[in-house]
């Protein structure tokens, strides 16, 4: 929050009566000598740094008409976050408030920046998956998938059928867990705290199944260039089908609890409206784009894996408000359940990874009996494999929108550039136009329904 010099001075001297007429001039001078450096220090602490809100008229995309300023027209700049429970991590919103109304807003990010793209240049392609899986930590398998796809495009390898269907099933399970997490946190942000417990409950069941298959609840490092890390374990069908039923029952509960709930509707309907045109201009993808009545889903429009062989619908709504974004994510879970069921039914046999000795490590049993296999395994995991020079952009529909991976190789074992287009990073740009002119309480709902994952935003 920025304070005027006068207010700062009052805080320092503890003089609540303001500036009285100076009776004693000498005392004033002495006071000034103390106050001047202190003022400087405090203004450094309370200023907004070099990040500044843009002038009002420049934010064209947000559209007018601007609300008439209430009261005496005095506005105040408030920093919401980065340490705020509703900011989903470390998002800082700089908001100019006029009373309770947000006049301007700007997301300030970078608090979770860990230089993952730089790290990616130092890791081999085998190690790369462990890096990207930590970007969007709520849907790590989408990140692994897009990275693996990019590497495979450069290597020009064809995956076996079973690997494709396994990947599709895992990514859809991950989409379910991601959307359940959204339901939980979104409910909590709006005050429906019981929703948080329900959402977390079902998500935990999905993560348990992912743990059975991949060995880890999160950050799986399971989808790797050339296929997957391991085959499906015994009894996976029962586990997957069981969790499908639990999720469906859970979704029915949420639907009953929230969708027709008048309090819920009054918090979300008509709040944070965005149009298709704004989404197009601001590069917004995923559920936020689909909530504006534009049924764009890469799984349907530019199919990858085997999405053209399964039956599912693209969920979209027309109003582009918080309520629609909630409904889209609710019903997308059911479509994902549909896909998972078809994957279980149609799961082909065969190999779960490419049998190419250049990129696939030898089976575990061979390592025990063959020196060459041991050396091969060791070389692959210490030096990695070489990827032909070239550049490619792979894209996948993650739970938050189009996640892309731009990969440049120079023919060595490490990429020259590994750039991930995180959908949350772009979707954050929607927050300002959604928020401006709305109340502060709506800001929380708007941030929440954009569903930003800061790990992916800051990378």
């Amino acid at each position: 929050m920025s304070l005027t010099e006068e207010e700062l001075k009052m805080q320092i001297t503890g003089d609540s009566s303001g500036t009285d007429s100076g009776d004693d001039v000498d005392e004033d001078v002495a006071e000034q000598a103390v106050i001047a450096p202190e003022l400087k220090r405090l203004s450094r602490q309370t200023g907004e740094g070099s990040q500044e809100l843009r002038p009002l008229q420049e934010i064209v995309i947000a559209g007018g008409p601007w609300p008439e300023l209430e009261g005496d027209g005095q506005t105040m700049i408030i920093n919401m976050g980065p340490q705020h429970p509703s900011t989903h991590g470390v998002l800082r919103m700089m908001m100019e408030l006029d009373g309770e109304t947000v006049v301007r807003a700007k997301p300030v990010i970078g608090y979770l920046h860990t230089g993952m793209e730089k790290t990616g240049e130092e890791l081999t392609y085998v190690q790369g998956a462990t890096n990207v899986t930590r970007m969007d930590y709520v849907s790590p398998l989408s990140n692994e998938l897009v990275f693996a796809t990019a590497v495979e495009q450069l290597l020009d390898v064809e995956l076996p059928e079973r690997a494709i269907w396994m990947r599709m099933m895992l990514v859809e399970l991950n989409r379910i867990s991601s959307h359940l997490l959204f339901q939980a946190t979104n409910g909590m942000d709006m005050g429906a705290v019981n929703m948080m417990l329900y959402g977390w409950r079902e998500r935990e069941e999905v993560l348990r199944v992912l743990e059975i298959i991949t060995g880890l609840r999160m950050n799986h490092n399971f989808i790797r260039p050339g296929g997957l890390a391991a085959d499906l374990p015994d009894g996976w069908q029962e586990a997957v089908l069981g969790v499908c039923e639990q999720v469906e029952a859970g979704i029915a509960d949420y639907d009953k609890l929230l969708t027709e709930n008048p309090i819920w509707q009054s918090r979300t309907v008509g709040v944070g409206v965005i149009t298709t045109e704004q989404c197009m201009a601001l590069s917004i993808t995923g559920p936020v784009l689909r909530s504006t009545g534009f049924p764009w889903d890469l799984r349907k429009t530019q199919p990858y894996l085997a999405y053209d062989q399964v039956d599912f619908d693209v969920i979209y709504t027309d109003n582009g408000d918080c309520y629609d974004r909630y409904r889209i994510r609710l019903f997308e879970v059911l479509e994902s359940v549909k896909i998972v069921r078809q994957c279980v039914a149609k799961m082909p046999g065969g190999d779960y990874r490419v049998q190419d000795k250049k990129i696939t490590p030898p089976p575990r049993a061979r390592i025990d009996e063959s020196m060459e296999a041991l050396i091969h395994h060791f070389k692959l995991f210490t030096e990695g494999f070489r990827v032909p020079p070239g550049e490619t952009y792979a894209r996948v529909e993650s739970p938050r929108g189009e996640i892309g991976c731009y990969l440049v190789s120079d023919g060595t074992g490490k990429p020259v550039r590994m750039h991930v287009r995180g959908p949350s990073f772009y979707n954050l740009q929607a927050i300002s136009p959604m928020m401006e002119g709305r109340m502060v309480a709506d800001a929380v709902a708007i941030i929440s329904t954009c569903d930003p994952i800061m790990g992916e935003v800051d990378r």
Partner: protein, 174 residues
């Protein structure tokens, strides 16, 4: 939408004809056009207005400092930096990637925010990470790194920081 609504069969053809110095190639089944730095903003605006490219998906950059022997493309003088722009046309369901060479001596490109305001964040990211300025950008400040940071981390000559780890009770080198 029938293809006849457009003057050229594909947008890459259009760019090669309309903008001198453009070279179209294909990279792993994706259409890529190398364009001149000076015409980048015009190319993007042309694609938006005339070829129905509705969204700019991504703006990023590559530093080729240590990659001097990379493949040469006829008609393109390779420079240290490359700025990469990914565009998508929703009505035509096609994608295009524009690559422009940016020399080390003058690391600046015209901004694309006048065509697609959504390129604001990624351009700030490229500026932050590579020090490539986007002329005309309304708010070109650092986005991920702290404001007072010196240097641009994703440049190849900006070495990653290494901090020696000392353990509690470590007697030191023996």
């Amino acid at each position: 939408m029938t293809e006849s609504a457009f003057a050229y069969t594909t947008p890459t053809d259009a760019l090669v004809v309309k903008f001198a110095g453009s070279v179209a190639i294909e990279s792993h089944g994706q259409s890529v056009v190398h364009v001149e730095k000076s015409s980048l903003a015009d190319v993007v605006e042309y694609l938006r207005v005339s070829e129905e490219f509705t969204m700019c998906l991504d703006v990023t950059a590559v530093d080729h400092l240590q990659d001097v022997e990379r493949s040469q493309i006829p008609g393109i003088k390779r420079e240290r930096f490359e700025v990469v722009v990914n565009l998508i046309s929703h009505p035509r369901n096609i994608r295009i990637r524009l690559i422009t060479q940016v020399p080390e001596s003058d690391p600046s490109v015209p901004t694309l925010t006048s065509s697609f305001s959504g390129t604001s964040f990624p351009e700030r990211e490229v500026y932050d990470m590579f020090g490539i300025t986007f002329e005309g950008h309304p708010d070109l400040t650092r986005i991920l790194m702290p404001d007072e940071w010196v240097g641009h981390p994703l440049r190849k000559d900006d070495a990653p920081a290494r901090v020696p780890v000392t353990f509690k009770g470590d007697p030191g080198p023996r």
